[in-house]
Symmetry: C2
Subunit: 183 residues, 2 copies
């Protein structure tokens, strides 16, 4: 089915509206009316461009999962501190709406098998990057030990992120920085 230019533009507006709403009201809270109101289109337009509401939501969610991966340009050289800092920036920076979507999904949304696999894959990739950074900085560390530390740091960062979203007074950066110091 060929698309006119106006159609593709409308599609983009709908996706932007969906992304914003997902961050604000959560996956459960997103209704068709909310999307179409915010995008400034009628329901007919929406269904001309998407099969179902779920299709639009999944398209945004896929983006969110991909966005969690830190900038790939540093692979192989980045330090653990770089990775932690990138995570903090991702959560507290401009993309925090996307981050919120990802956390919701990871913590609760995974009834969908394919999405669960996608999230797991991205988690694995992240653990590997953290693990490699640890191994580079502490060459004596065993591979298993490095991976376990990577899992622990990522888990703590995830937990901190949730706390920060729920309690804006929580000093996310400071707690994250502590993860880098020995006890």
């Amino acid at each position: 089915m060929g698309r006119y230019r106006v159609g593709l533009e409308t599609r983009e507006r709908i996706l932007v509206a969906t992304r914003d709403l997902l961050g604000e009201v959560g996956i459960e809270g997103v209704t068709l009316k909310a999307i179409t109101d915010r995008a400034g289109v009628g329901a007919g337009s929406f269904y001309n461009l998407f099969e179902t509401k779920e299709q639009a939501v999944l398209e945004v969610v896929r983006e969110a999962i991909a966005a969690v991966d830190p900038d790939p340009s540093g692979v192989g050289r980045e330090s653990l501190a770089d990775l932690v800092e990138a995570f903090v920036r991702f959560i507290t920076g401009e993309a925090s709406g996307i981050a919120r979507i990802y956390l919701q999904l990871a913590a609760s949304g995974l009834t969908d098998e394919r999405m669960a696999r996608r999230v797991l894959r991205s988690h694995r990739r992240r653990v590997e990057r953290f693990r490699d950074a640890i191994a580079r900085e502490h060459p004596g560390t065993g591979a298993e030990e490095a991976e376990a530390r990577a899992e622990a740091i990522l888990a703590a960062l995830t937990g901190f992120a949730i706390t920060w979203f729920i309690d804006p007074r929580f000093d996310f950066a400071a707690h994250a920085a502590r993860l880098l110091q020995p006890r």
Copy 2:
């Protein structure tokens, strides 16, 4: 409002039905009709005994958490290991279906103000218990230091729980145990 014995029995049947359903179909699948059908009561009975559906769900979750509490009476002798173990039991034990619901509810605090306040309050209480246990075991630790460690351990446990739900092969108990050892 006094309750008759039959009323309290019906209340118990409703809670059992709710607990089973939460484990089987998740929070989305739990409808009032599903609960009342399974409990074998009419909607009117339900609302004679509970204010809202949410109340019944929250009561089930609260019960599940209380069931693993290492120090239900609040004596204050629980160790950090006890607390960590209780968390692990809650997540991986029989009530793991309910634990999933608990995580979902916590995640809904990311977008729902009312739920955020609720989650924050219980988070605070838990941090205090972890902090006090740490302070008892390491009397030299400063209050701030102990609280920061408590936050970190809880955040890591939460993160591990999420990982475990996404990846059943993840060894939650082993990773949790590592949190108790110095690096």
